[in-house]
Amino acid sequence: MTERIDALQAIVERNQVWPRMAAKWGVENPVPPWKTSLDGLCDALDHASCDADVPNFKERRDEEDALSATVYSGLPYPENQLVSLAHSLVARGIIDEAELKKRLVSIRERLDAL
């Protein structure tokens, strides 16, 4: 479970964590704007865990704790929660790493389009 995942490692290394971004842009919000959507994502996953082959609440939190203390110990919260969740989903084969990489590129293109 703690084997490094390239796509996520690249995100960690780029280090666009909220405390740094908020300081750079003079923003006071204590948490990033995607936090509640991540909360919704975690709840939706927990809700689905009875029917779908996804980690349940306890497994998800245990893996988050283990990964946040090791592979992602350099990330603040909630970035460590998000990246740990991504790691769990890739490590369990629910999301394929190549598929994730491709999607990260296409979403960034979409969001950066003017």
Partner: protein, 235 residues
Amino acid sequence: MTDHDHDHDRTVKPMVDEITDFEVLEIALRELCIEKGIFTAEEHRRFTEFAEQIGPTPAARLVAKAWLDPEFKKLDLAEPMTARKEVGVDWMEPSSFGTPSDFTAFQILADTPTVHNVIVCALCSCYPRPILGNSPEWYRTPNYRRRMVRWPRQVLAEFGLYLSDEISIRVQDSNQKHRFMVMPLQPEGTEGWDEDQLAEIITRDCLIGVALPKAGVTTNVITEPRPALHPGTAG
């Protein structure tokens, strides 16, 4: 003279004007889960709306009402699921359909002059979200979870809460089926206050039990999460 009367001096709060990798990652995970049929976009939207509207205000109101009305306090302690409807929280249907980790039994733990309550989830991060909002970061950390159940007096002191030896500390462990919040004692110097005034000093930390309400204090303690160190091996 202008032909309109809006305020030109208004300033817009700054925002982060760049897309971060973390924002992209959150969207990617969500889209892939929806495409794989793990959950629907509608389910995600409703859970997100739930996460956006929760906060500690209903719990503070619940305690303020109890301080002012002994009958309401009896209801709080005997029928907390009924009492919280008085502050606008229907726990059984927090977002019209419930959330998997919040559909649960709920109990309010009343402090006494000799017993102080504090809540924890030793296993993960169970928390009474519908009435208290999202848990603070430190509540989720293994450090708080493991150490609070072993050395509550020391951990409370780290929050700045020093309790005398005559006061026993009861640590209540939450779990997937049972959630708790603390009802602290009304502090001195607040006699004659109304519900709004009282609710202001009943902070999230007081409702978890890591602080006591105090006239003039309306903010939570700020603590930096830290790695767990065993007292026997630390320094």
